[in-house]
């Protein structure tokens, strides 16, 4: 089997898995709905009671999870490819830390509502990413310097967040902690629409940038030789990746690990070299939705945010994966 067919196969399998998880997610809960009825309802059929449960209560949350997962997976693949670093993720340009600091500031100091917190997070995240990029853009933003400056700026922002957490009431600290962890609890259609619109714009742009991204992986000089405008392409890619992350963080908070793990897992499934953005995106959707389904079922009454689940499972899974691979002597 060639790598290309394998990649297509994996992509199709992941899409199928994502759809199956969606059906599972909206079909189970306090009222169980059999899968065939779920599918019928999703495509416009079903009785009124079923469609209320599905379309009003459960579908928005599941869709938000799937779409955010897709955004995070795609942005992680782009970041890891540009930085040529398997640990590259939006955190390295300080996005997550900037968003968290701004959101915690909004929650604790200004007592802002959901929209203000989301807007603050996006402004904080994008502002931080721009600052990091500007600080490292001297004689061309090299991947290496970008990472270092990202670490410096992030550490300062983490200090700001920690400071705010110690100067707040315990209730505020709890609200802030939930936001920082990343949660899909209580998501409605008003959360789905902005994410869907943003993805409808950003994903086609990403598709257009795949070719330059593939060339950039060969090294700046080679890419230039192949006719790629290196600096401009890289800037465009960073912007798209930051945009994708911003969408995800604004609607669910900074859910860790999906952006980091999805590209790694997808790559191990496809055995492809290259960025593999499409499979990574689908993998991201599967991971996030799967984690949300699992955490709702396992810790029903505690309402633990999905970020706890993605973190624990993802960390354990990655550890296991690395050990197994190294034991076999590859990688």
């Amino acid at each position: 089997m060639t790598v290309a067919t394998r990649t297509t196969g994996v992509g199709l399998a992941l899409a199928a898995a994502l759809f199956a998880l969606l059906v599972l997610s909206v079909g189970t809960g306090e009222i169980s709905i059999p899968p065939d009825e779920v599918v019928a309802t999703l495509f416009g059929g079903g009785d009124r009671g079923t469609s209320f449960v599905i379309e009003t209560l459960r579908l928005p949350r599941a869709l938000t999870g799937a779409l955010i997962g897709i955004a995070l997976g795609a942005s992680g693949a782009i970041f890891q490819s540009i930085t040529r670093n398997p640990l590259g993720s939006p955190d390295i340009v300080g996005f997550v830390q900037g968003a968290s600091a701004a959101a915690v500031l909004e929650i604790i100091v200004f007592g802002g509502g959901t929209f203000a917190v989301a807007a603050g997070a996006v402004v904080g995240g994008v502002g931080t990413a721009v600052l990091v990029y500007a600080l490292s853009a001297r004689g061309g933003a090299q991947g290496y310097r970008l990472v270092l400056i990202g670490i410096g700026v992030s550490a300062m922002l983490i200090a700001v967040t920690d400071y705010l957490l110690t100067r707040s009431t315990l209730e505020q600290a709890q609200a802030a902690q939930i936001w920082i962890t990343g949660s899909l609890n209580g998501r409605g259609w008003e959360h789905v629409r902005p994410v869907a619109v943003a993805l409808a714009v950003l994903l086609p742009v990403t598709a257009l940038l795949i070719r330059p991204l593939r060339m950039l992986e060969l090294g700046d000089d080679t890419a230039r030789g192949l006719g790629v405008a290196v600096e401009r392409s890289r800037l465009a890619l960073v912007l798209v990746a930051v945009g994708l992350t911003a969408v995800a963080v604004a609607s669910a908070g900074p859910i860790v690990f999906v952006a980091l793990a999805a590209p790694q897992i997808a790559r191990r499934l496809t055995h492809a070299t290259g960025p593999g953005v499409a499979c990574a995106a689908l993998m991201g959707g599967v991971l996030l939705l799967g984690a949300d389904v699992a955490s709702q079922r396992l810790f029903g009454d505690l309402q633990l945010p999905v970020g706890v689940m993605t973190g624990v499972c993802g960390g354990v899974y990655l550890t296991w994966l690395l050990t197994r691979e190294w034991k076999r002597g590859s990688g």
Partner: protein, 330 residues
């Protein structure tokens, strides 16, 4: 005089200065000459009590924690040949944090003098796990593997910490003050508890200068020069665990000291680890205590925790170094 000699003299002078300032500056300032008197002849006055019961223990704690973080960071960067390595990398902070929340949430431990042992144990166990994962298979613990393993394990542990702090309010309340990283408010006995571990870690670290230099040239070249890469890595990992584990257990995670100080030291001494390690042991306390003193001044009569000050000052300094010159290669 050589650059190394001049630098060393300056750092020792700086250390003497911050030690004095750290005892003298605070919500109740005490003039330096009076401090000097009181140190040797405590007269039972309020000032004497502040100096002996609060400021001197705090300064000693800063001195040993600073030395531990600086040398731990330098060792970690030398071993992993990764200029970005810091105590967070091998899972030390995550292990300590997970142990602290476990002790408070599940076992009801509230005294810092008790949960410091949990934190230390957590840091040690996690370092061993990370090393074990990184060393799986034939080719051993390469730098990239250790970094990947540390990140993966930290992810899981931090999520666990978040989960526990969300379920249990009391734990969140304790944890938020621990994780900020402070030298203030600790019992004087704390320094005595962690000092033996840090002393042992420092001794071990200083014996590793030469083998670190050798394996810095690559494992093959290191072997040819008579150093055993595997042995050096294991001893180094033990030293890092002792140093960073004890420091983080005592005062909470403090960003930037372990990451930045070795870069500054290498900029002065060059890459020779036999110089870098002792430099870090002296330079890091200067930075940590300096940050602590600044934290007492900027927000009078309140204080800013040293973890915050070190990040807010260390961040721009670090960025300036990165922008101005190429990071001294390992």
């Amino acid at each position: 005089m050589s650059t190394r000699g001049t630098g060393l003299a300056l750092i020792v002078a700086g250390l003497a200065l911050v030690l004095l300032l750290s005892v003298s500056v605070g919500a109740r300032p005490i003039p330096v000459d009076r401090v000097w008197d009181l140190v040797w002849h405590p007269d039972g006055s309020d000032d004497a009590i502040i100096v002996h019961d609060l400021r001197i223990p705090r300064t000693i704690l800063g001195l040993i924690v600073g030395a531990a973080l600086g040398v731990g960071g330098a060792l970690m960067q030398g071993l992993t040949r990764n200029p970005l390595a810091d105590p967070g990398l091998l899972g030390v902070n995550a292990g300590a944090a997970a142990a602290v929340v476990t002790a408070t949430a599940l076992l009801g431990v509230v005294s810092p003098l008790v949960y410091v042992w949990f934190a230390f144990l957590g840091a040690a166990i996690v370092s061993v796990v990370v090393y074990g994962v990184g060393a799986a298979g034939h080719s051993g613990a390469t730098p990239v593997r250790l970094a990947l393993a540390g990140t993966a394990v930290s992810f899981a542990l931090y999520a666990y910490v978040q989960g526990l702090t969300l379920i249990d309010r009391e734990t969140l309340d304790q944890y938020r003050f621990w994780q900020v990283g402070a030298l203030a408010g600790h019992a004087p006995a704390l320094s005595g508890q962690i000092a033996p571990f840090i002393a042992l870690g420092l001794l071990l670290a200083f014996t590793l200068g030469r083998p670190l230099n050798a394996i810095g040239l690559g494992d093959e070249a290191g072997r040819a020069l008579g150093a055993s890469p595997a042995r050096t890595r294991i001893l180094g990992a033990v030293a890092i665990t002792l140093l960073c584990g004890a420091a983080t257990a005592a005062v909470g995670p403090i960003a930037f000291i372990g990451l930045t100080v070795p870069h500054v030291a290498r900029a002065i001494t060059g890459p020779d680890q036999r110089w870098v390690l002792p430099y870090c042991a002296l330079l890091a306390p200067v930075m940590l205590l300096g940050a602590d003193v600044v934290g007492r001044v900027v927000n009078r009569p309140g204080e800013l925790e040293v973890g915050i000050v070190s990040a807010v000052i260390g961040g721009p300094v670090f960025i300036a170094i990165v922008r101005r010159r190429r990071i001294a290669q390992l």
